[in-house]
Amino acid sequence: MDQPATQFHPSRVKAAGAASPIAAALPYLALLLVGLAFPLFGGGYWGVIATRACIYWVLVSGLNLVVGFAGQIAIGWVALLTLGAYTTSVLVAGNVTPAFPPYLGLAVAAIVGAIFGLIVGLPALRLRTFYFAITTLGFATIVTQVALAWQSVTGGGVGVAGPVFPEPFDSQWSFYYFCFGLAAICTWMTANVAASRFGRALTAIRDAEVAAEASGIAKPALLAKVFMFSGAVAAVAGGLFASLQSYITPDAFTIDLSILFFIAILIGGRGSILGPLFGTILLTVLPEFAAPLVAWSTFLYAVLLLVIVLAIPGGIAEMLDFRNRRPLESDRAIVPRPDRLERLLGTAPDAGLLTLEQVALSFGGVRAIDGLDLEISPGQVHGLIGPNGSGKTTTLNVISGYYTQQSGAVRLNGADLPALARHRRAQMRIARTFQTPRIVGSASVLQNVMIGGTIDGQCSFVESLLALPRHRRDEARLRDTAMLALEAVGLERLAAVRADRLQHSELRFTEIARALMLRPAFLLLDEPAAGLSAEEIRRLGALLLAIARAGTGVLLVEHHADLIFDICHHVTVLNLGKILAAGTPAEIQSHREVVSAYLGG
């Protein structure tokens, strides 16, 4: 169980809470040694238990990406185990086709598993949590029923013999090493993914979906890959399971097993590899120590699930996360360093103008925006002010694709922006922040910022799984850029800290750093000064001006009139979805209606 290739680079991140790669790898190495040496002290029966734990982990490691990272409540994953077990057994037994060699059968099962993983998983793209949970549960029931009824193939209730793997994996311990090896490979692969842009994108989908979209993460494509991977390893686990059981019937695949897999992940902690690994071992071994309780094991798992959800939602991983319990300095100031922007943003090609022409949108009878004209130029800060409900955020949401205007046009350099294609805004280098910061609380500040650069990664999912060179280059580059962005906004010292430990103002600057990762041609900011101190607002102003000087067009939605008039080149005042006034800050400040209606002069 190798150490993930891309942990924090110690020479670069020496901030509070950073883990050295060696310390991070220690638990894996310890498990690797214990696993390799296990046959020396374990008796025959314990060999079966250990083999079973390895097989379960092969499945759980993949499911962990679905449940723990992407946050999809797939509770019926035993269906994939069943499918893999029957596919391998039936192919190897040869009662439908000519008999397959066992390894080939296992490979075919992996392919079948990938396909069905995709089929079971895809509804997650359309359905909300409970709906998705129910559909996976329904699928699990159906698969067992089919296995029971399709007698000519599956043997029905009588069952079918599991595959026997030929030499060198035919004895108990050699088969154990085979399963252990696969488990180790799965650990290594999922740890690679977890530490890649794909892993970060998954946690973003889980905890901050709108931020994921704004960073250009295409949820369907990403989830499809993860479901296929998870389905494939689950089916492989099924083939191994059938071999370990030596004979399988539909009874072997109860929903209880599914619950075990699911709970192992939650006990371990979402977004962790090591936690669920320990969770799996714990849940596999525990019933062996409490023989009288075996009948009650599922009941106890359920109790455990309830306790975890109510008392320790972070699971083992969070309980063991001592680094993030050390207190942070209490008087830490955010000191942006705009001089870093030049290196970070480079010289972007001229993106042209971002223009809104006669844009109108109403919700029911309320005209949220009503014939709005707006022109945002590169290198300028454009202020958008107005009372609550005047359409400022709605305007921002139309530009970033959350709403579609009912009439009028939103154009970038003369071309219409595609309606509702939110994640494609990032490719056009339009970045945004949110009124309430959308952050992955359980990830580090650095990882949060790296999410912003997801679309600049070049390696594929498979390359990340195997930690191929392009994956490492991607990660190194993203990490460097993210550190640069953090230095630019003044948060580099917090890079390794869990984001949910930050103060509100620091979260706002984190969001700006994340948006800067896109090297945005246009940066849309939704009340970035809300909740900031006067000093922080001043620094924010200087930072935004520097961003504009680097060539980015900034659209600033704000209530702090001082900030607007200090830094904007152009100000538009909205009222009831219409433009009340537009012009330079000086013109607005002397505009009679604006002053009386809004500025309170």
Binding site: G71, I73, I75, P123, R126, L127, R128, T129, F130, Y131, A133, I134, T135, L137, G138, F139, T141, I142, Q145, V146, L148, A149, W150, E209, V210, I255, I259, L266, A295, W296, T298, F299, Y301, A302, V303, L305, L306, V309, L310, P313, T393, N397, Y402, F434, Q435
Partner: protein, 285 residues
């Protein structure tokens, strides 16, 4: 054959509809779907068989005790699995906490009651031609619940308070409605409806612990297709589901009926995630 498809289809459809209504009553009070809905249905059958067959109680007493048991489970659900996680709705913890509670009850039943399907007593000692009581009992229960809920919601103060909470719990609280007590009352009511479904359908479904996940799934189909919180939609969709399932059962066999129901469910959901009736737009940004 058509007659038996229709009678069993409508009867089983009524049970699904009632479980759907159980989901809805809990959902209206808390915006939460609970995995315990099907468990309540299972308990209706098990408790009925326990009280009447095994303990020999009169039918009326057995019914009352079973319903009381359901009400208790409803209240426990609210206290243990819903209230503690209501504040963190974003994380969807309720899916897990209600699943955990449902599993606990199901496993407890499996161990204490047994894993075999046991017979449910015939409630009325009558035998005459026409529709058998195992078919008309669920229909009667379904009709009674629909009429009862209609009367409750339209004509009583507490029913209107339920509606107020369902419509806008924040505003209802601001008006001084005791939201928490009303939520508990809703869960108790849901418990009664769920167990009534299982009790009335006891002869068809038997007293069997594995009815819990089955009803959790098939009872949710009417909710998903009829629209969340929409009881009329649930009844229509539940009846259609029952008829479709029984027809498929007779025509192509049980397993393929299940596969057909599941496939139709997924396809309809994917095409209309908001259900066949109703649409909602959530503000996310």
């Amino acid at each position: 054959m058509i007659a038996s498809i229709v009678s069993s289809g409508v009867a089983i459809g009524c049970i699904y509809a009632l479980i759907g209504i159980t989901y809805n009553v809990m959902f209206s009070a808390s915006r939460v779907f609970s995995f315990t809905a099907g468990t309540l249905g299972m308990l209706g059958g098990v408790l009925g068989s326990l009280f009447i067959s095994r303990m020999g109680m009169p039918v009326a007493i057995g019914l009352l005790l079973a319903l009381a048991g359901g009400a208790v489970l409803g209240i426990v659900t609210e206290i243990v699995a819903v209230r503690p996680v209501l504040k963190s709705l974003d994380q969807h913890l309720y899916v897990l906490s209600t699943l955990a509670l449902a599993l606990m009850v199901q496993q407890f039943t499996a161990i204490e009651w047994g894993t075999d399907a046991r017979p449910f007593p015939r409630l009325f000692d009558i035998s005459r031609d026409g529709l058998d009581q195992q078919f008309w009992l669920p229909m009667l229960a379904c009709a009674a619940v629909i009429v009862g809920l209609e009367l409750l919601y339209r004509h009583t103060l507490i029913g209107r308070a339920f509606l107020a909470i369902a419509e806008d719990s924040y505003a209802a609280r601001a008006l001084g409605l005791p939201e928490r007590r009303l939520r508990m009352a809703s869960y108790a009511l849901a418990g009664v409806i769920g167990t009534l479904a299982g009790f009335a359908g006891g002869e068809m479904l038997l007293a069997y612990f594995a009815n819990a996940p089955m009803l959790t799934f098939y009872g949710f189909v009417p909710v998903a297709l009829g629209g969340m919180g929409n009881n009329r939609g649930a009844v229509v969709a539940g009846l259609l589901l029952g008829l479709f399932q029984q027809a498929a059962n007779f025509l192509v066999g049980g397993v393929f009926a299940s596969v057909a129901v599941f496939t139709v469910f997924i396809i309809v959901l994917l095409a209309r995630p908001e259900g066949l009736a109703g649409a909602s737009l959530q503000r996310r940004v």
